[in-house]
């Protein structure tokens, strides 16, 4: 399949993520949108890895195609670490104000 299809699909996912972060007001939903952005990146990385593996020019380097696939695992691990910290912060917030609405975050403005 053409690489363009993968690029378009993951850009659409990425844009949904960005728009969600900017528009939604619920902290958990924003958080899910960030995860969506990361997964769009994962998809594109794997697609590019396959694209490079099929082209002949890249065969000069020793591990030319597996780099990106290993990168994907690192992204998953870091995303998991981020989830654990992020959910802890959201829970801490919920215990104090009993809401996860980010419109509540205006005490620091003045």
């Amino acid at each position: 399949m053409d690489i363009k299809a993968y690029i378009i699909l993951s850009l659409v996912l990425f844009t949904i993520g960005i728009v969600g972060v900017l528009v939604r007001r619920n902290a958990i939903i924003i958080f899910m949108c960030v995860e969506l952005m990361l997964n769009a990146v994962n998809l594109l990385l794997v697609a590019f890895s396959k694209m490079h593996a099929m082209s002949t020019a890249a065969k000069a380097s020793a591990n030319f195609a597996s780099d990106a696939q290993i990168f994907v695992f690192f992204i998953m691990v870091v995303a998991a670490a981020e989830v654990s910290v992020g959910l802890a912060i959201i829970v801490m917030m919920y215990r104090n104000v009993h809401t996860v609405d980010v419109n509540f975050l205006n005490r620091l403005k003045n």
Binding site: M37, F71, I89, M93, L108
Partner: protein, 463 residues
């Protein structure tokens, strides 16, 4: 390599200290002892170019004089930070050992972000810096402002991580060599492929987020204001400088040959950062918030190093690391002792605490860039780098003008300390002990010495 591994190990040790040691003051001494050993081992590595650890790293990290000197300098600044703020960290909450552990993990991340040679290590380093910082920001658990700052910082940080990863992916897709190694991404000086230029733009945006350059600075004042003051001091100095170091390293090694294609963008970011940082700082009433905006303004000056990318810029970056970190750690150290964080809270401090007022004056003069202080030398080197670069000379004039504006808001504090009468708010309830004052004097002395002999720091680059 020593700094990366030893500080990660020491982070784990500090976590166990939090479990097994009930005393609140002991973790400070263990942390200081650990930091001294890490500092001396990384100085050893800098002198001999030999690590204690033989690890197959596949050339993913690269160590040279410049970044080993930077790591040693960062560790020295952290040591001073610990010595000055040990008592304040104990006041933040119950889990003192854990705070130190998180700071050690951040140091490990800084060492990775300063030595990376692949985009993978850049990502890992930046994340190891960011994730513990989210926790430190929210460490004052009962305080709503701290909660809010942590949530805001976390959402913005995760968002910018996503953008940076998209940039890395585009660069990987665009490079014909199918590699993440930064020096193999682009060979030659031709027009960038479209995927690489989009990726460059994404990474530039994400790193600007991390170093709080305008127009991506909007989280900075809120987060710096809400976080406990000791940790604001840490993240606005050491962490921010490390972000700049990663920024410079990436753009020098990966995209240095195509500087003419992206230099305009950096110019715009620099000018906006200087403008927004300095102008908004003028209107602040809270000193903590003003220092947050001043850190944005100083980031504008550090961006000049990314703009110029020559040897002078690297020298300037080392000097800026020392000058900016020392002065800001010092002024935040004074701020933690104040009851009232507004500028009026500083009224008449010179009469009540002459030593504190005098050292604070030196810190503020250094931040302004008055001659005979380290701040002057660092700003001078940055401007000289921009002049030597040869393109867009007007950026230097703009930078000097904004440095003059910055004098207004720094001098307002000096004026409050020396020329205004004390009100009830000025009275400092916490007792100031002697070692704290000695540390302040030591920092002030270092600032003046670096201001007179900048070769002390610059010489580290050439050995």
């Amino acid at each position: 390599m020593n700094a990366i591994i030893l500080s990660a190990i020491w982070g784990v040790i500090m976590m166990f200290c939090g479990v097994f040691i009930k005393s609140k003051t002991t973790p400070k001494y263990i942390a200081i002892a650990g930091l001294i050993s890490i500092l001396s081992s990384s100085v050893f590595e800098y002198l001999n170019h030999k690590s204690f650890f033989k690890i197959q790293i596949n050339d993913m990290l690269r160590f040279d004089n410049f970044n080993l000197a930077f790591i040693a300098l960062i560790l020295l600044c952290t040591l001073i930070y610990f010595l000055l703020n040990g008592a304040e960290i104990e006041k933040v909450g119950e889990h003192v050992g854990e705070y130190y552990a998180l700071i050690f993990f951040i140091l490990s991340g800084i060492a990775i972000a300063a030595t990376f040679n692949t985009l993978l290590m850049l990502f890992i380093g930046i994340e190891i810096i960011s994730i513990p910082l989210y926790i430190l920001t929210g460490s004052d658990k009962r305080n709503l402002k701290s909660n809010e700052a942590a949530l805001k910082y976390f959402l913005m940080g995760a968002f910018s991580t996503g953008i940076m990863l998209m940039g890395i992916t585009f660069i990987y897709g665009g490079t014909p060599n199918a590699t993440f190694y930064i020096d193999k991404i682009m060979l030659g000086t031709g027009q960038m492929p479209i995927l690489i230029s989009v990726g460059l733009l994404f990474i530039m945006v994400a790193l600007s987020f991390k170093v709080s350059a305008a127009p991506f600075h909007f989280w900075t004042p809120d987060v710096y204001d809400g976080a406990p003051t000791v940790f604001t001091s840490f993240m606005s100095t050491i962490v921010k400088v490390a972000g700049f170091f990663a920024f410079i390293r990436l753009f020098e090694h990966a995209f240095g040959s195509m500087q003419d294609q992206w230099q305009k963008l950096i110019t715009y970011i620099t000018i906006t950062t200087l403008l927004i940082g300095n102008i908004t700082a003028v209107f602040q009433q809270s000193v903590k918030r003003m220092l947050a905006y001043s850190s944005i303004a100083q980031a504008g000056f550090m961006l000049l190093a990314v703009f110029a990318l020559n040897d002078k810029a690297k020298e300037g970056m080392l000097l800026y690391t020392a000058a900016y970190s020392l002065a800001t750690i010092g002024i935040f150290g004074v701020l933690t002792k104040m009851e009232d964080y507004t500028i009026d809270g500083f009224n008449g401090l010179a009469k009540a605490q002459p030593t504190m007022a005098l050292t604070a004056t030196i810190f503020l003069l250094s931040l302004t860039g008055v001659p005979l202080t380290a701040g002057f030398q660092s700003k001078f080197f940055m401007l000289m780098a921009a002049v030597e670069n040869g393109h867009q000379f007007w950026i230097v004039i703009v930078a000097v003008l904004f440095a003059a504006i910055s004098a207004y808001y720094y001098f307002r504090i000096i004026q409050a300390m020396y020329f205004k009468d004390a009100n009830e708010n000025t009275i400092i309830t916490t007792t100031i002990n002697k070692p704290f004052l000695y540390m302040l004097m030591l920092i002030a002395l270092m600032i003046v010495i670096i201001g007179i002999y900048p070769e002390i720091i610059i010489g580290w680059m050439y050995r």
